[in-house]
Amino acid sequence: MARYIGKRIIYMVITLALIATFTFFLMKILPGSPIASADKLSPEQRAVVEARYGLDRPLPVQYFDYMFGLLQGDLGVSINQFKGADVTDVILSRMGPSAQIGFQGMVLGTVLGILLGMVAALRQNTWVDYSSTVVAIIGISIPSFVFASMLQYSLGLKLGWFPVALWKDGFMSSVLPSIALAMFPLATAARFIRTEMIEVLGSDYITLAKAKGASGAEIAFKHAFRNALIPLITVLGPMAVAILTGSLVVEQIFAIPGIGEQFVKSIMVSDFSIIMGTTIFFSVFLILVILIVDILYGIIDPRIRLSGGKG
């Protein structure tokens, strides 16, 4: 196990280095200058400002300089979005709200999704099943920002149950954005659990359990559910990606001071250091999620061997 994790961490570092490299050069190809008033300055004046942020040096020099800083955990300073602010500080100060709505959305979505999927499987081909399918289709096909706008308008503005937007009322402010983010995990989980449960419920050992006289609830939870959970873990990764990309827009719609909200702006204003810093942060997060998923997989299903090497 330890060896497996060690190997994975080495892969992780390589992946990160590749992501950082690609992002760096792709970003430099992006047209536009990080100097907001570039259209007003003379070329000489612009050169002075560019020199201030080291943008006048040859690209390879900038690249190695950046990678070297990265090794030491230095993400540089923001060029124009938060002039002179440390990128690490920016990300740290923005992390809390993003983590909160992301976590809440994930938990809410998976829990409700599992319940929905189970009920649908146990009541296969009844109206319960069909309505759960409809919910799942809606959840998967409608993007989270549409949900966000609808929730804001209905539960926020019209009914007044929750704050319309802004991050001022503690937990209450996080409810609507969390629900908006939860829709995709909810739908995905419901779909997976339903399919798996139906398959498991049809298997021999369930028939045996029934024959032994186990109650319906016992069969559903003790025997069927645990086995149906395994495939769900594989989609935790994609779900985390969906939460993360969803947060870019959802945070903007609810005016939440999160990382995603700030990331969108940094791309529009070509703030190179913020773009790099945020991309690397997101990548680390996703790579970690994938690693955790793989480890969990081994724990839940002992048939899957992680050690690989010795065999």
Binding site: F82, V135, Y153, L155, W167, Q262
Partner: protein, 579 residues
């Protein structure tokens, strides 16, 4: 099992009700007046239609003086030396102050300066006497604070974009200092604690309005040095000397507050106690906050302007920002058809600007047949610069067709294909599509190819002079017609279309040089230059002067909008009739 059925039914109903509520509500949004908050407030104060927020006269101020606003972006920097964006300049204008300030009529009046400065006969030396005023920490504001701030704005180490841009060519030695010369070479000296002497490169008739601009604000050397890299990193690491102080700003957050500054020398004029600002980037979210009563004023962008055009709470403000078509006369070293004067004249007359502003923009913008915006600069007698020349061109399809035929004969072609370079926003797309349709309909044999690109790309293409026609815009940097006119001097960094007219150049040169001390003759020269540029040469084709629309609660009074520098002043604003 019965229970679980019931539970799911409930769950489903809940999910579906969200959709139904959202869909059903949609039809009622138009007026937006049925929400409890706004209907309550509507009744109290209905007489002011609110065409111009500055002139709205309300009743007695309420006991509670809190204004709730939204802003469209974060604050990139609150350091007046390196600020370069509208959010920062707007806050700076309300929490700080320079020698002069724009008043309710947008005239620069003495602020930290005690009175009008003493100006030497050659118009090159200005001596300002400072009034007794303090920073928010109680330290007196001295002439040295100005010297320090201005030198800092030019320091290459600080890397300010606006410092060199605003000062070079105006203040003596500014260009040299920005290129690394000793800061003491800058023509600004503190003669004593309260006397500031500024030496200029050339006479600058609009110098007083420059003194209201953020880049020229003072900074306390001791405080800035003590804070070092932390200076301006949050609201505690700043000093204030304006009507308000900034609080609750953590440097990267989406929220901040402005509170009345008790140390401000003119604090008795200020009525508002608190201004709460939140950054909301989505207009639809801002509108929901407005309708829920949490915000008192929100800007209406793009399609929202049209949707709310008839709302009684709409306020419109004309901005001195002008949009025009640049005609590139030389592309990749070769003359374009636009080098022909008649072709340019034909195009500039071949599109209906009135329809464009009414239908496509629908936000109160004005069709423009001029370069220098209306309601922007005024002579000493209060006459608008616009009154000298009036309209210099205009939509006339018949005339356009005549010019077009002549032009085509002169260049010996029957068909011309031109590229129209424009922005990639939805609004820019609609506008350029409209222009294409108009031009192709009214000018036989013309094909217009649209090229929509992001702002950064447009700048690069502009610099490379790699376009035929460009949809471009300009907002002023100081309150004088020159900020628009000298853009088109031969070789100017904004020209980039190979326009060159000796007479035009010499008029601009005169206005900047020998006529600088003679206001009337100087205005005449600038007006003549504008006439040559548009009427005679059709070097550019003006399209429209931009207006912005906002929804503002009827109990908000006295927000003053400014043509340059900070967009708004809250110094004179107050709440009346909210309860």
């Amino acid at each position: 099992m019965k229970n679980s059925k019931l539970f799911w039914l409930l769950g489903l109903v809940l999910v579906l009700s969200i959709f139904l509520a959202a869909c059903g509500g949609g039809e009622e949004t138009d007026g937006g007046t049925e929400t409890p908050d706004s209907s309550e407030t509507d009744t109290s104060n209905t007489d002011d239609g609110g065409d111009d927020s500055a002139s709205t006269e309300g009743g007695e101020p309420d006991a509670e003086q809190v204004l709730n606003l939204v802003e469209g972006a974060e604050i990139p920097s609150m350091d007046s030396a390196i600020a370069e964006d509208s959010v920062a300049f707007n806050i700076l204008n309300n929490v700080n102050e320079g020698l002069f300030r724009l008043n309710e009529e947008n005239i620069a009046v003495p602020a930290l300066a005690e009175s009008e400065p003493e100006i030497s006969e050659d118009g090159l030396t200005y001596t300002f006497k400072l009034r007794d005023a303090n920073w928010s920490n109680g330290t007196p504001i001295t002439a040295q604070d100005f010297v320090f701030a201005w030198q800092r704005a030019l320091d290459p180490e600080v890397g300010s974009p606006y410092g060199p841009y605003m000062m070079a060519g105006t203040i003596k030695g500014a260009k040299e200092v920005s290129e690394g010369a000793d800061p003491s070479e800058l023509g600004v000296v503190a003669e004593d604690e309260k006397t500031l002497v500024v030496t200029l490169e050339r006479p600058t008739p609009y110098f007083m309005s420059l003194m209201a601009f953020g880049t020229f604000y003072p900074q306390n050397e001791e405080f800035v040095t003590e804070k070092g890299d932390d200076y301006a990193s949050n609201s505690d690491n700043l000093l204030y000397n304006g009507p308000f102080v900034l609080t609750n700003w953590d440097g990267t957050g989406l929220t901040w507050t402005m509170e009345k500054n008790e140390e401000y020398w003119d604090a008795e004029t200020v009525t508002l106690e608190t201004i709460n600002v939140d950054v909301v980037k989505e207009t639809s979210t801002a509108l929901n906050l407005y309708q829920s009563g949490e915000k008192d004023r929100v800007g209406l962008s793009g399609e929202f302007a049209m949707q709310y055009a008839d709302d009684p709470e709409v306020v419109k403000e004309l901005e001195p920002t002008l949009f025009y078509l640049k005609f590139n006369q030389e592309r990749n070293g070769e003359e374009t058809p636009l080098a022909n004067e008649n072709i340019r004249k034909a195009i500039s007359m071949a599109f209906n600007k009135q329809d464009l502003v009414d239908v496509v923009l629908a936000n109160g913008s004005l069709p423009a047949n001029y370069l220098v915006p209306t309601e922007f600069t005024f002579s000493e007698d209060g006459e608008d610069f616009r009154e000298i020349n009036g309209d210099l061109t205009g939509f006339d399809a018949t005339k356009a067709q005549e010019f077009w035929q002549t032009g085509l004969e002169e260049i010996g072609q029957t068909e011309v294909t031109l590229e129209l370079l424009g922005g990639d926003s939805e609004l820019a797309g609609k506008m350029d599509a409209y222009l294409k349709e108009q031009l192709e309909t009214n000018l036989e044999g013309l094909t217009v190819n649209l090229k929509a690109v992001p702002f950064g790309v447009r700048l690069e293409l502009d610099e490379a002079q790699d376009y035929d026609i460009q949809n471009s815009g300009w907002g002023p940097d100081y309150q004088d017609p020159m900020t628009f006119i000298d853009l088109f001097v031969t070789g100017a960094s904004h020209n980039l279309m190979s326009y060159s007219n000796e007479e035009f150049d010499s008029l601009v040169e005169q206005a900047k040089g020998e006529l600088a001390q003679d206001p009337a003759a100087r205005w005449e020269a600038m007006a003549e230059a504008e006439r040559i540029l548009i009427e005679e040469d059709a070097a550019i084709a003006p399209i429209y002067q931009r207006a912005v629309m906002a929804l503002q609660k009827p109990y908000v009074n006295g927000i003053v909008s400014h043509p340059f520098g900070g967009d708004y002043s809250y110094k004179w604003a107050y709440i009346s009739g909210k309860e």
